[in-house]
Symmetry: C2
Subunit: 535 residues, 2 copies
């Protein structure tokens, strides 16, 4: 528990503050950036509009397009250059949106059930009623065993799960012990040679069975499926289901139910009671065809090294469950605000600073991957259709990386996508040459709690496609806040869970990092690159 | 934060364990009780039936009657004596139940709103739609100002509230530091002479305005009112509204909305957006007239001192919001289980041990107060109608306490009503003569974490009516668990938030306390008594 005893370790902070800057930093510009960021911030106002006027932004939903227009208008209005949307995938998938969902237990007693539909699953077209059954549907043999038994039934897909009381506060700031931990690098264990093949095989199996299950449930005439939320305390954590692809079966209505209510359903069914529900889901696909998916860009043009690029970004898309405030409205407005600040303080960068608001992050970093493939570097498209069907991370043997002309002119990418959490430092991704540079850039922000340059890697967001092709791409270290305890992909991912002061702090640091990267003599150094097939 | 650093203070536990018992304790009976409680427990099974087959148990609702029958059948089936329901209030109020509630924002964008109706408020009789307005309705002048403006409107009654991140774990066990704190007694500050009159004046004002507001909203044709939940993180904390009394206006449909959603509504309205909701509440009064309200009793008859009483109890009624598992299903099944254990181990108490399952606790300790007035002691009924209208705690000047014959033959009352939390000790309510007795009774349970006899008072539940008339009445010290952080009067008050091992531990300790009280030579000593008018 000592991790949660504060007051300790201030000495460590002192030590960090004592780091000497080998790298020149324009402290006058830091002052101007901080003044604009702290005393004229628009971050919270932007987030309120994005989350509560536009709302959640599922990729290719009408609200996503609304968000792109909204962002474009703001960025253009601030006088940024080259503001436009650009297609990264001409056939990403169908549009989808949901209006409401009502689930009621009718028997053995009346109980309103807390539930939300999975994205890209059909609505019920009005209220439907049916008996609840719990059957194993994990493999083809299970489907064969259930053939003819599920017509008109509502199917529980998961087991009940015991409540796990939280032993830590829901909302956390890193203390100095946790920050100190980040100053260490855990030497990697040897990777199981077959690990990737194993993950690939599992992925293929899951993918294939998912399609089979969707088709089976439709064919058998099941009314709906229910799954348990992966969070306790009534929190609904809901992502995608069905299929977004035209021509593929979207299955039957599929909802995620709060753990407290789901467990009651399982206990009643296993107690041999007659359990009946009424379900009314108003959800719909907004297109029959696969629609193109877009990113949104804007620039502060460079002068002198205008064709060299510094890119900052965050993902515009969200799940439909909350309003996408922490994931990743916070990142979107922090990055927009960083561009606004640089424009407002009259920054004249040597390199061009480009803002990218990505789509399709939640479906596999699609917007940022599309950007990297088109403009920086890509592996040859596989010809083998089986390989084609795989996410690029799984594709193998298509040949060496093909670098575009701008590959060498690219400097760096900075990303912000771990919720509201204030910046405490940055992940150097094992690029040791950037460590002294980042230490110098962070020093003017030690008084805001941003002190650590960790050599560790972090993943799972839009800096990874840059990192994968050997280009500098970085995500900041952020306080955990209640990101993973409460809001990540849940109905609590709303405006109230974002801390305006955190947004101001992040915007100031990112504006400064982007400016420093755009002004320094050299582009940021790169780390050793391993071809995909050698990994 | 040191309070959350465990491992400390085991020495204190050791010290506590070293307390010498002046009071004889039948350790053979303790062994038999523990064996039955731990190895043949029915507590969790009882709670599952009570919360998930019977469901929540609002006083005078059909489910409350179902619960009384359920408990009576169990208690009779175990061979307990004198099992029956008894009216404590011939005209408590009307029955009420609700089936479902659906609230959707239609404008400025689509959003399903998390909300539940307040008890004893009307349903909507199908879906209704209206504009949302936020107006001050706190005093008569506000009503005058709004006259003619609220027809067809949905009224926000509260301001938005800033999210407050939790800085402690939601689920807590007392550590030794917290237990040590309980071993101290804070000397009371002088009470402001006018404090009671002030509270009384406020109560009268609130009561009068509440009635005026209900009538006003009906007269003006408002569609519904919305209030903010007093918990964050989507938790719905919902008690009563409207009126349960026949002949009084129940007002318009009144719902409590999750803080995250309520704040969005306020921001949209204050942002001058056109906010429209659709509300569909299926709730109904199940009687036109005030129905009598009952407690449920059962006995293990004494032999030798059969007309002397040891009473153990908990309240059967709950709010309608969750399933009343922690508040107070846990207490009900712990007390039922204690009786079952005593019967199962063949206990032959000298004094009669009576189980009381109270109704109306949530509306003001009504069931237990009714019992005390009828059988033990009461102040004369006020004749002044104004006094009549007040809760008895506020009534004054009706003369000295009238003691019934059984007042002197009464020994003690034990209560359990603070959620699932395991017993860590007992509140002696400033009765110092019972301290050495309780210390001796607790010693065989030190190994279960029950170590402290605090001289402090605790209130707010069914031991208070006994305490108020100078009779021994006690509530146990229980681990906080997530009672006040999450489940108290909320939609999370469900079976999954109760820890079965805690129920076993409590049942063993309470069975032993009841047996000891029924067997000891003397009735439990009493503390100095102050007449109500002297307080």
């Amino acid at each position: 528990m000592r991790a949660w005893c504060f007051g300790a370790g201030l000495a460590v902070l002192g030590a960090a503050s004592a780091v000497q800057a080998a790298e020149p930093v324009d402290l006058d510009m830091v002052s101007r950036i901080r003044d604009e960021a702290f005393h004229h911030s628009q971050a919270a106002a932007l987030l309120k509009e994005l989350t509560e006027t536009v709302g959640p932004r599922l990729t290719n939903s009408p609200a996503y397009d609304h968000a792109s227009r909204w962002a474009g208008d703001k960025l253009g209005g601030w006088g940024l250059a080259n503001v436009h949307d650009e297609v990264y995938d001409p056939a990403f998938g169908r549009g989808w949106e949901f209006r409401s969902a009502r689930v009621e237990m009718l028997s053995p007693r009346q109980l309103p059930i807390r539930a939300l539909p999975k994205a890209w699953t059909p609505g019920t077209d009005g209220p439907v009623e049916g008996e609840v059954v719990k059957v194993e549907l994990a493999k083809q043999e299970d489907l064969d065993a259930q053939k003819g038994k599920l017509r008109g039934k509502i199917v529980l897909l998961d087991d009940a799960r015991a409540f796990e009381p939280a032993d830590k506060p829901d909302f956390r700031r890193y203390d100095e012990e946790a920050i100190g931990e980040l100053r260490t690098f855990p030497v990697p264990e040897d990777r199981d040679a077959g690990a990737t093949d194993k993950r690939l095989a599992e992925f293929r199996k899951r993918q294939a069975f998912g399609k089979a299950l969707n088709g089976f449930l439709v064919e058998e005439g099941a009314l709906a499926t229910l799954s348990i939320s992966s969070r306790d305390n009534g929190i609904l954590r809901v992502m995608g289901g069905g299929s977004r692809k035209a021509g593929e079966s979207a299955g039957v209505p599929a909802l995620t139910v709060s753990a407290e209510h789901y467990n009651q359903l399982v206990r009643a069914v296993e107690g041999k009671q007659d359990v009946r529900l009424r379900i009314d889901v108003d959800a719909r696909f907004t297109s029959d065809d696969n629609l193109p998916a877009t990113n949104t860009y804007a620039e502060l043009p460079g002068s002198g090294k205008a064709n060299e690029l510094v890119v900052i970004g965050a993902h515009m898309d969200s799940w439909h469950t909350g309003t996408g405030a922490s994931d990743n409205g916070a990142g979107v407005v922090v990055m927009m605000e960083a561009m606004r600040i640089l424009k407002a303080v009259g920054a004249k960068p040597k390199r061009t600073i480009r803002l990218a608001l990505w789509g399709g992050e939640e479906q596999g970093l699609n917007g940022s991957s599309g950007y990297v493939s088109k403009y920086l570097a890509a592996y040859p498209e596989p010809t083998d259709p089986e390989q084609k069907a795989l996410p690029s991370a799984f594709q193998r043997g298509t040949g060496p990386l093909q670098r575009k002309a701008s590959y060498d002119r690219f400097s760096t990418y900075f990303n912000f996508d771990n919720g509201t959490g204030r910046i405490r430092g940055i992940y150097a991704q094992e690029n040791h040459a950037v460590v002294p540079i980042f230490k110098a850039w962070l020093e003017p922000f030690h008084d805001l709690g941003a002190t650590v340059v960790t050599t560790r890697n972090t993943g799972s967001t839009d800096h990874i496609p840059f990192d994968r092709v050997g280009l500098p791409g970085f995500q900041f270290v952020q306080d955990p806040a209640d990101y993973f305890s409460h809001v990540h992909h849940t109905d609590l991912d709303t405006y109230d869970h974002v801390v305006p002061e955190d947004l101001k702090q992040a915007a100031a640091i990112i504006a400064s990092f982007a400016y420093n990267a755009a002004m320094r003599e050299e582009r940021l150094p790169r780390k050793p690159f391993r071809e995909r097939d050698e990994q």
